[in-house]
Amino acid sequence: MAYIEVNNISKDFQRKSRDGRQETIHVLDNISFEINKGEFVCLLGFSGCGKSTLLNIMAGFEQPTAGNVSIDGAVMTKPSPRYVTIFQHYGLLPWRSVKRNVELGLENNAFSKAERAVISQQYIDLVGLNGLEHQFPTQLSGGQQQRVAIARGLAVNPDVLFMDEPFGALDPITRNKLQDDLLSIVREQQKTVVFVTHDIEEAVYLADRVIVMQSGPGRIGKIYDVKIQRPRDRNSSGFGLYRKDIYNKLFSIKESNIEYYI
């Protein structure tokens, strides 16, 4: 049995159409796949293909209309600190310092104040923010803020990281650096990662497997096993082949959609 099992997930949204009638939007259609422990999987697709909705369901924030997700043998019904989500816009609390943000998930009876301080320092150091403990989120760059969010996530020692376009708002140089740091951290900490992105290069660079999603309704287009040695070279020919393959897959999907609308 695989570590994470996504079983026949479908999701419908109800909304009011312009003429006031209730209509049903079919967002996800019968999606199934499995993820092994310690695997790094990217969900790749255009905006609106339902990849974020799928991630929200996997993380327990939303319930599917049909199907279920199980992790480590248990069906997901609600979010849990064992499976932490990292958001595109960080979700840091601006009224708390870096240290207090990282301690957020530790503020329960399981830890004393001293223990919290030790753990938060450990993860602040891990993400390279040593010396910024007492800064506030608004005093940090976007890349640094996402590092705080990652430290906060890792501090509760989760088994899985769900990441929803975490580097989407960052400039390319910062993004590349964070990708490298993320890879070394999750390898060292042996985390399973589900990473949503619309950036093909990012997906090929990071993932053990790339799940390419089609839209209208969201479904799996193709799953790629990325068999490139790490550390990966974005300019190597092998990398280029994957990038081209996935690009063609994504855009043939797009073209067929366009034909459909004509």
Partner: protein, 249 residues
């Protein structure tokens, strides 16, 4: 520095125009006192302690009424904002009561409770309560969904989420409503004291009118303006501090 100069110039011009109106108007100094007469009246009410007593009485009511409206507005706003059934049950009635001017409550409250501190405090409370309540409720409803996801992800209890995530998240908006409520409360304090009390700045205005002392009347009006201005300045500083603490500029 420049701002101070403009402030001084602004008051100088206003005083000059006032003096000019007195000279040209020919109402007689008993009906339309000149700036100097008002300054003398100010010295008079300061000297005999009337002003200090009036300000003390007004500030006492103001502080109680305003603090009550802040505590009740934020408390009930958090409750109503977070419990949907309560919001749906209370919102129609709140929206109906809100447009009733606080002074319209006055006769009813005076008949019910009698004159004294309470009616004025109730007026101030009503003036401050609704803006704070509605802003808090709306703030809770529009709080960034990511914060709520973070809270549920880290297993933070509902109660703790309300006080340590939602309240601080909406506090910049609440601070703005505290600013607005302070100004409104101060305005209505004076109206309240003109009807239901025997002391305070509003009563001093009525008393001056009854004694045909327009100089004291104007001096009191200016004091009301100055205190309102100072209160607004102080809460404005507080609001700015809150916003900069949150990184909002």
């Amino acid at each position: 520095m420049k701002a101070t100069l403009y402030t001084i110039a602004s008051f100088a011009i206003a005083t000059a125009l006032w003096q000019l109106a007195v000279v040209l108007g020919d109402f007689g100094s008993a009906l339309f006192p000149a700036p100097l007469d008002v300054a003398k009246a100010f010295a008079e009410i300061t000297g005999d302690g009337t002003l200090a007593d009036g300000v003390a009485a007004s500030m006492f009511r103001f502080v109680i009424g305003y603090l009550l409206s802040v505590v009740a507005g934020i408390g009930l706003g958090l409750l109503i904002g977070n419990v949907n059934i309560l919001f749906r049950l209370t919102n129609p009635v709140i929206q109906m009561i809100r447009p009733i001017a606080p002074v319209a409550w006055m006769p009813f409250i005076v008949l019910l409770i009698g004159i004294g501190d309470t009616p004025a405090i109730v007026i101030i409370f009503l003036a401050g309560f609704f803006p704070v309540l509605l802003t808090t409720t709306r703030g809770v409803h529009t709080v960034d969904e990511t914060y709520l996801k973070v809270a549920s992800n880290y297993g933070i209890s509902r109660l703790k989420t309300v006080f340590s995530i939602i309240l601080p998240a909406v506090f910049p908006q609440i601070a703005n409503s505290l600013h607005i409520a302070l100004g409104t409360s101060w305005i209505f304090l004076v109206s309240g004291e003109m009807v239901g009390t025997q002391s305070g700045l509003g009563y001093m205005i009525i008393d001056a009118r009854n004694n045909l002392r327009t100089d004291i009347l104007l001096a009191t009006m200016i004091v009301i303006g100055v205190i309102g201005f100072i209160l607004d300045y102080l809460i404005g500083k507080f609001e700015k501090k809150v916003l900069s603490y949150y990184g909002i500029h």
